[in-house]
Amino acid sequence: MFDTFMIHTWIASTIIAATAGILGFFVVLRRSAFAAHALPLATFPGAAAAQLLGIQPLWGLLGFVTIAVVLLHQLQKLGRKDVAAGLVLVTLLAVGSLLLSMTNTYAPAVFSLLFGQVLGVSAADLWPVAVIASVVLIGAMGLYRPLLLQSAFPELALSRGISAGVIDILFLALLGLVTAMAMPVVGALLVFSLLIAPAAAAQSLSARPLQALLLAVMFSMGMIWLAIALSFWTNWPIGFFVGTMGALLFTSARMFRYIRHRWFSTGLPTTMKNQSMKLIPAAQPGEA
């Protein structure tokens, strides 16, 4: 399992899981799960375009993710976020179907773009992953506080002079980079499960933002490590393990929180403590 050809897989998937955990924290906070689902699928035709043009697949993916991010941002400005994500998703998938029909890509290649190719990572694949991950890490660290405030409370952020539009496009750009970087390795569908489940589980377990963020990174890395190991032993697809483990993780986190509340809280919520009660004499009906 730790042979030389597997080492690259371990390194790449660890880096991808960590960055996906960080951005996933903000995806869940901003309630843009649908956008996080739409971006990888809208980027997917980029590989076909790259083959048509005879360039590196990564450039095709980066090109398509840029188109998707700009489209998404512009459509979101017009109104509903979910409709915008849906429109971008169908538009670019439609373009993708045309591009795929024009190339002679055979089915297994499409399949691996959707579900990943974790066991085929080469040393050359590691460089773009490392570079993009560093860019995303620096971006997320720099934007941490405004992004946190804007994601959780857009109105409060606006009054502090933090522009919703600027934060939105920067965040989508970071998300797009993670998508383009992770897609060839873990696949379009897997990126999504790494973005959502660990962050949602972490947020229901911890009430501290930084703690929840680190927990999301740990969950995300733990999930992909376990999935690679299980996939290696069982020869089942890795997507199956990541997807089901994500759902399992979220369910257990919710159950843990429920049990902790139910059994370890002191009955009355603390809102009732330390509140002086002033009795106001009730009005008598005969008065006046």
Binding site: Y144, L148, L156, S159, G161, I162, Q203, S206, P269, A283
Partner: protein, 325 residues
């Protein structure tokens, strides 16, 4: 017909005026009677700040999509003043508040906050928006929200700082939020969440606090406690507070000024001038009764109200609406 003299319980004695002025340490304009507006000036150690308004709005005009929302709005707010902003739905209250924090596109006219334009005075203004929906899973405690109030606009990672901690503690103390400072914000009651947002707004020690419908969705106790808190912030901390509220009853005991908006125009006056049946009925376009009950003045919507020529509310005999005969 029983005639109710509304303003007796509200009448402030001269000693009270002096005491209030002493607490504020500022110029206080009392609108005791409409005929002669008394200006009480008390020399204080804040002499240099005493004459400047915290907020001065002059001839503010805002139109959105060709529709004129605000037209020539002019008013000023002194330190230590709690001012209500009233008007019917769609009168432009939120638009006015948004212009004051500099996020309303293309306003005409002048807004100055301690002499600065809204975009340059963000540190001087605390803003509490209309009801925020806190998701129960939001990974933020009250403490974190207040911390973001201090440094949420800064780039780069946050390093531990004692000064920041003290600043957060001071804001939590000011609103009495210490008891639930380390609880998840989505799991608190509406009143506590409102306090948390006010603490967030106070974190950078502003001079002006703007609140958009802070009493909406609060129960009787929370609404009254919040009104008391706002009164405390103006009296003790010398803040100028501008607050919109449809139900102004909890605020009446602490409010000393009212700005009202109707059809894009604004007018302002002392509480006793504006809170009159005739004025409010005209303003809302619906019969409103101002009554006195149990030593307090109350504003009630009242479809059967009759309004006398002097603006007093005339109570039909046998009416169940209460009030001393």
């Amino acid at each position: 017909m029983a005639r109710v003299d509304l303003w007796n319980p509200f009448q402030r004695t001269d000693e009270e005026v002096l005491r209030l002025a002493g607490t504020y340490g500022e110029v206080i304009t009392m609108h005791e009677d409409t005929s002669s507006t008394a200006l009480v000036t008390i020399p204080s150690h804040h002499a240099e700040a005493s004459c400047a308004s915290v907020l001065a709005v002059e001839d503010l005009t805002v139109s959105i999509g060709g529709r004129l929302l605000l037209q020539g709005v002019t008013f000023a707010l002194q330190p230590g003043q709690l001012c209500g902003l009233i008007g019917e739905n769609g009168a432009g209250k939120t638009t006015l508040l948004r212009s004051l924090i500099g996020v309303q596109p293309s306003p005409h006219g002048q807004v100055s906050i301690s002499g600065l334009a809204p975009r340059k005075s963000r540190d001087l203004v605390g803003y509490v928006p209309q009801k925020i929906n806190f998701a129960p899973d939001l990974p933020l405690r009250v403490y974190d929200l207040v911390q973001l109030g201090c440094d949420g606009h800064r780039l780069g990672p946050r390093w531990f700082s004692r000064r920041l901690h003290q600043q957060v503690q001071a804001a939590l103390d000011a609103v009495g939020a210490q008891d639930f400072a380390y609880q998840r914000i989505g799991e608190l009651s509406g009143g506590q969440q409102q306090r948390a947002v006010i603490a967030h707004a106070l974190a950078r020690r502003p001079r002006l606090l703007l609140l958009d419908e802070p009493l909406a969705n609060l129960d009787f106790r929370s609404a009254n406690e919040l009104a008391g808190l706002l009164g405390h912030l103006t009296r003790v901390h010398g803040l100028a507070v501008l607050v919109t509220a449809h139900d102004m009853n909890p605020l009446l005991p602490v409010m000393d000024h009212i700005v009202y908006l109707a059809k894009g125009r604004a007018a302002s006056g002392g509480v006793r001038e504006v809170v009159q049946s005739a004025t409010l009925s005209k303003l809302y376009g619906y019969p409103v009764a101002v009554i006195e009950y149990g030593g307090r003045v109350l504003v009630l919507p009242h479809a059967d109200a009759q309004i006398g020529e002097d603006g007093c509310y005339l109570m039909p005999n046998g009416s169940a609406s209460g009030g001393p005969a």
